[in-house]
């Protein structure tokens, strides 16, 4: 039996790759995790089959032409028959097909992907696009987070989106279609996961230098888990427990950090960058660009431009021990 | 004449006429887009003009537009004269049209300057669109005056087919500018 592909080493390597990918979740539109996306995926498969048939008819005629290449002269033409054929194939059949597609997609499927009307869902989440991160708010609570959205499985969630700067587009392929985030307007999309999971999304409207590194993670979890998460997020930041953490907090408040970031429960009230109150509860940094590990956090603070060239966050000239303190404090903000 | 001795009957719509007609089509589309922008932003605004800007007073714009419409008479008259061979009369009518149109422009420039004072274009979309709309039309009026002056100059040397087709094209151009001017003043004065 051929063992090549299934050797333990390559399997482990594969798992690591998948695991890293799993860190961010899948972005596959054809792996739906919601009713809305399922109807879009079904629509795709139907259209694919229809297209194959249509293309088949064209291929048939092309092959027919190829087979006629031996002819010396054209046979006499029957203009009436030809016109009838052209009208049937070129007008008649397409009209029927397009009409059916129109009714199926633009009347029926559209209903399941339509934006929820305000007040029609139990839960609303506000998403505000920034260059190059996502501000996430849970109205009715003090919760403000970034780049990671938790929702309860099986619940209809109305995501209300807008932008603080340029046009962005919020898209989580496995859950629903995209909505553009446009200055001065709000657009709404329904997120209703029918199974637990981690679903990756990405900004889908070119928004500048780091458009490629503006991903978002939607975590659908059982209702109890979600409520626990939300309750934790509502609390203000954990006070520092060790001396190092206390130093870290002091640095945060006195250095440039507090000018851009908020940590609820401290004097840091900046609104230019993401809210960091529960930074350590998030799996990634910089909109899924880096894993949320002490080493990555350290390198991010030292030189954000390295991972995300052009990012708005400036590099801070800190000493090694200052960095230790800062990362220790931020690492404690679960 | 042609080598075959065929008589060539001069077309009433030669290529030069078509060239101007097509140019007008594209310029009319440009005006259509500007007018549509004005209306689009108007419909999206809670107040248009916005708070703090008084609507334009109608008297002078309407008077000036009437003046502009009136120049249609000497412009068409000039073409008819030239077609009949009366180059001198054509030149005189063209110069008359130019004089009136220049007064129109002078009046418009005074209003323009006055409006710039009371509503700077870099403060509101209303003013931005207002001045862009008016400025585009004034630029077209200047071009039209230049055309008339050119033909007045050329016709002093007499009429020929080339100049006649060009003058015909110029009258077509002025018809367009006048129609655009009517729509312009309507949009300028409509929001109250």
């Amino acid at each position: 039996m051929k063992r090549g592909f299934f050797q333990p080493r390559s399997l482990v390597a594969g798992l690591i790759v998948v695991g890293l990918a799993g860190c961010g979740g899948n972005q596959d539109a054809l792996h739906p995790a919601s009713g809305a996306e399922r109807s879009i995926a079904d629509l795709w498969w139907v259209m694919l089959i229809g297209s194959a048939i249509g293309f088949g008819s064209v291929l048939f005629l092309l092959v027919l032409g190829w087979r006629r290449r031996g002819r010396k002269t054209s046979p006499p033409s029957n203009a009436k028959l030809e016109t009838t054929l052209v009208v049937t194939l070129g007008v008649g059949i397409p009209v029927v097909v397009l009409l059916s597609l129109f009714v199926y997609s633009d009347v029926f499927v559209m209903r399941s992907t339509a934006a929820p009307t305000p007040g029609s869902t139990r839960m609303t989440i506000d998403v505000i696009g920034h260059d190059w991160w996502w501000e996430v708010r849970y109205p009715g609570t003090p919760v403000v987070t970034a780049n990671e959205i938790h929702i309860p499985v099986g619940s209809a969630v109305n995501v209300v989106g807008t932008t603080a700067d340029v046009i962005h587009s919020f898209w989580v392929p496995q859950l629903n279609r995209k909505i553009d985030l446009i200055p001065g307007r709000t657009n709404r999309v329904l997120l209703e996961a029918d199974r637990p999971g981690r679903f990756r999304g990405q900004c889908s409207e070119f928004c500048g230098l780091q458009h490629a590194h503006m991903a978002v993670l939607v975590i659908a979890e059982p209702r109890a888990r979600f409520r626990a998460w939300l309750a934790n997020q509502e609390k203000p930041a954990r006070p520092p427990a060790t001396g190092e953490e206390r130093l870290g907090l002091r640095l945060f408040q006195t250095q440039a950090c507090a000018g851009c970031h908020t940590i609820r429960g401290t004097t840091a009230r900046g609104t230019i960058g993401p809210d960091l109150t529960h930074l350590a509860s998030r799996g990634t940094l910089a909109a899924l660009t880096l894993p949320n590990t002490p080493a990555a956090l350290r390198s991010w603070i030292t030189d954000p431009d390295h991972a995300k060239p052009g990012v708005k966050m400036p590099a801070l000239p800190l000493t090694g021990s200052q960095l230790d303190a800062l990362t220790a404090y931020l690492g404690s903000l679960r | 004449m042609t080598a075959a001795g065929l008589p060539a009957t001069a077309s009433s719509r030669p290529a030069g006429w078509w060239g101007m007609a097509l140019f007008i089509t594209t310029e009319a589309t440009l005006f259509g887009a500007i007018f549509s922008t004005y209306v689009y932003l108007w419909l999206r605004s809670p107040r248009w003009p916005p708070q703090g800007i008084a609507p334009t007073k109608p008297f002078y714009p309407l008077l000036l537009t009437a003046l502009l419409v009136a120049t249609s008479v000497p412009v068409h008259g000039a073409f008819r004269s030239a077609r009949a061979g009366a180059a001198g009369r054509a030149v005189a009518l063209l110069l008359l049209a130019v004089a009136v149109q220049c007064s129109y422009l002078a009046g418009q420039f005074v209003l323009f300057a006055h409006d710039l004072d009371r509503m700077p274009p870099d403060r509101s979309a209303y003013a931005s669109t207002y001045f862009t709309m008016l400025g585009t039309h004034h630029a077209h009026v200047v071009a039209g005056i230049a055309l008339e002056l050119w033909f007045a100059l050329r016709l002093t040397r007499g009429v020929n087919r080339y100049r006649l087709v060009g003058l015909h094209a110029t009258t077509l151009y002025w018809d367009f500018v006048i129609v655009a001017g009517l729509i312009l003043v309507a949009l300028q004065l409509a929001p109250r």
Partner: protein, 631 residues
């Protein structure tokens, strides 16, 4: 050409030769008003821009071949993606189809000696070349446009793009638009008024129908883009408010105006390709086009309906349901004229006696790509599908199948097809067939995987991506495809260059085509036709060779000067004889004044801009001082 071949006496031909011989040397080319020379100037310039756009594409593809590649950074990548789009659309495909193919062929196909406005024709070329240099000057100064080819606001506003990148974009496109507008006016006036006697509208070649549709579409679409760019510059430079909410404007205003231009633009791109296809197919299928009147009407309808579908580029912006549904329905409607044409083309080949020489192979490739691209286009009329897959590589696949597959393939086929007419030599057939297959495989390999990777969630305009999302292998394949495609194109270029010097000499009609260009020697004399033809069907060369019809029955030699006949719009009855200008310096001088005015405007020197404006006006005066001779 021997004395025996001449349709008229040798003295008259000699007189025609003398009257129409161009000025020699470089000066002759700089001051030319001959549509054939202008067509060739366009051809060389557009092929250079095609190469530039190709290098931009291959650089991007190399950067994307692997995840987290560091070949180019995001700033450079953004300039590359923007300039690739701008170059391919404004500096390659529109000018090559209208400026190169259109200019060279339309007068020949309608039996005229030149375009209606030869000097304005030259002006179009010099303005186009200037606009291309203007846009690329941005690259040289490190300030190339970088907000995507559709340049959405607020990203393109001063606040987010403070350098002069976007100013190059806006002013460059206004300049380019002026060139295309002048060309459009010229084509319509020429097609309306300069057709040979007897060539009523229903006897006009289908290629000319395509050019007519394109020209009208340009006239009606370009102003929206020009205005958008004017608004953008006024906002960026003078602080006007059109696109910002705070000032009472609306960012979607940019999108509406852009797509009112942008959608007709894609029909402007593809219609001439249809025209080339409908020229090649009857020749190589050896029969007249099936349902000719339906095809002609369909070409016009595509352009017309194409104006009513533009908001389908904005389905994800939150428009009202009724708006979405209206534009989806209109987008479905515009499919019909295209399906009419596809089946007409296929039936013509299938019911004829086809010879699959290189030009017809390229048309075969064109049909395959056009149908596939059209099918994915139909998918996008399903609003929820569009709202899911727009701005992903799925749409990149769709439009590249259409733009590359359906617009460029006919151009490549057309280059081979008319190469003998322009040069008097045949291309190398075997190499041409190989070049087709390499290009076909390369195109498929480059753009087909993009459908898959888009469905897997890869968004467009990203300079890099994470590994492990399932995108890696497809991206690598696309890059390999890109280089394969480049190899195919180089083979085509090599074939044409080699054949230019070593190809077998050929006569006027190597493929037995039906239209008028095949009745004149290869290459055509400067005066095109010694005797202006009198036409009685859409296939005058077949009438002459197969049915013995005498095209020269009208006897119009017109050797008293630089002359061509002007006919009535609908039925092409002779009206008058036009005296055409020959070489003139004013077009290039005027173009220089205009581009210098734009440069000064970019730099912010308003007074000097005005100076160049005045110089331009004076040039126009000098231009019109020279009047045609009266007969």
């Amino acid at each position: 050409m021997t004395a025996v071949d001449l349709p008229v006496g040798p003295q008259r031909v000699e007189r025609l030769e003398r009257i129409w011989t161009p000025r020699p040397g470089v000066l002759g080319w700089l001051t030319t008003t001959d549509h054939k020379r202008i067509g060739l100037l366009y051809l060389f310039a557009t092929l250079m821009f095609f190469a530039a756009g190709g290098v931009e594409a291959l650089t991007m593809r190399t950067q994307l071949a692997q995840a987290n590649e560091k070949l180019v950074g995001p700033g450079t990548f953004d300039e590359l993606l923007t300039m690739h789009g701008i170059t391919m659309i404004f500096l390659f495909i529109i000018p090559i189809t209208t400026g190169a193919f259109g200019n060279y062929l339309v007068p020949l196909m309608i039996g005229a000696r030149d375009m209606a406005f030869p000097r304005m024709n030259a002006l179009s070329f010099w303005l186009f070349l200037a606009s291309g240099c203007f846009l690329y000057a941005g690259f040289a100064l490190g300030a190339a446009p970088n907000a995507g080819w559709f340049d959405y606001v607020p990203l393109a506003l001063k606040q987010y793009d403070p350098g002069s990148n976007i100013d190059f974009y806006a002013l460059g496109l206004i300049l380019n638009g002026a060139s295309s507008t002048a060309a459009a006016i010229n084509f319509i006036a020429t097609i309306f008024k300069l057709r040979a006697p007897g060539m009523s509208l229903n006897r006009m070649p289908l290629f000319c129908y395509a050019v007519l549709a394109v020209a009208f579409a340009l006239l009606l679409a370009l102003p929206a883009l020009t205005l958008d760019c004017i608004f953008l510059e006024l906002q960026r430079r003078l602080g006007f408010h059109f696109f910002d909410v705070a000032g009472g404007g609306d960012p979607l205003l940019w999108q509406y105006l852009f797509w009112i231009f942008g959608h007709p633009e894609v029909y402007i791109i593809v219609l001439p390709a249809f025209g080339i296809a409908t020229s090649i197919i009857p020749t190589f299928a050896r029969r007249r086009m099936v349902a000719f009147p339906l095809v002609a009407m369909a070409e016009l309808l595509v352009a017309f309906i194409g104006f009513g579908v533009f908001a389908h580029h904005m389905f994800a912006t939150g428009l009202a349901t009724i708006t979405l549904v209206f534009f989806a329905a209109a987008s479905m409607l515009v499919v019909i004229p295209s399906t009419i044409q596809v089946y007409a083309w296929l039936l013509t080949v299938a019911t004829g006696a086809p010879r699959f020489r290189a030009p017809l192979l390229f048309i075969g490739g064109f049909v395959v790509f056009f149908v596939l691209g059209g099918l994915t286009g139909i998918m996008f009329t399903a609003i929820p599908f569009d709202q899911a897959l727009t701005d992903t590589y799925f749409v990149v696949a769709h439009f590249h199948f259409i733009i590359f597959g359906a617009a460029v393939f006919p151009i490549l086929g057309g280059l081979y097809y008319w190469f003998p007419k322009v040069t008097g030599r045949l291309y190398h057939e075997r190499l041409a067939i190989v070049s087709f297959w390499v290009t076909f495989v390369g195109t498929t390999l480059t753009f087909f995987p993009m459908h898959i990777v888009g469905l897997l969630g890869m968004t467009r305009r990203v300079y890099t991506y994470e590994p492990g999302l399932g995108w890696d292998a497809y991206n690598l394949a696309e890059t390999i495809g890109g280089f394969t495609l480049a190899a195919g194109l180089l083979l085509i270029l090599g074939n044409l260059v080699w054949s230019r010097f070593n190809g077998e000499p050929c006569g006027p009609d190597p493929f037995h085509g039906g239209t008028l260009e095949w009745t004149v020697p290869s290459p055509p004399p400067h005066y095109n036709f010694a005797v202006i033809p009198t036409v009685r069907s859409p296939y005058p060369n077949w009438d002459r060779t197969d049915a013995g019809y005498d095209l020269e029955r009208g006897g119009l030699v017109l050797d008293a000067g630089h002359e061509t006949p002007s006919t009535e719009v609908r039925d092409a009855r002779l009206e008058e004889i036009l005296s055409m200008p020959s070489e003139s310096p004013w077009p290039i001088v005027l173009a220089a004044c205009v581009v210098l005015a734009f440069v000064m405007l970019l730099a912010g020197h308003v007074l000097i801009t005005a100076v160049f404006g005045v110089l331009g006006a004076l040039t126009l005066g000098a231009w019109h001082l020279h009047e045609p001779e009266e007969t």
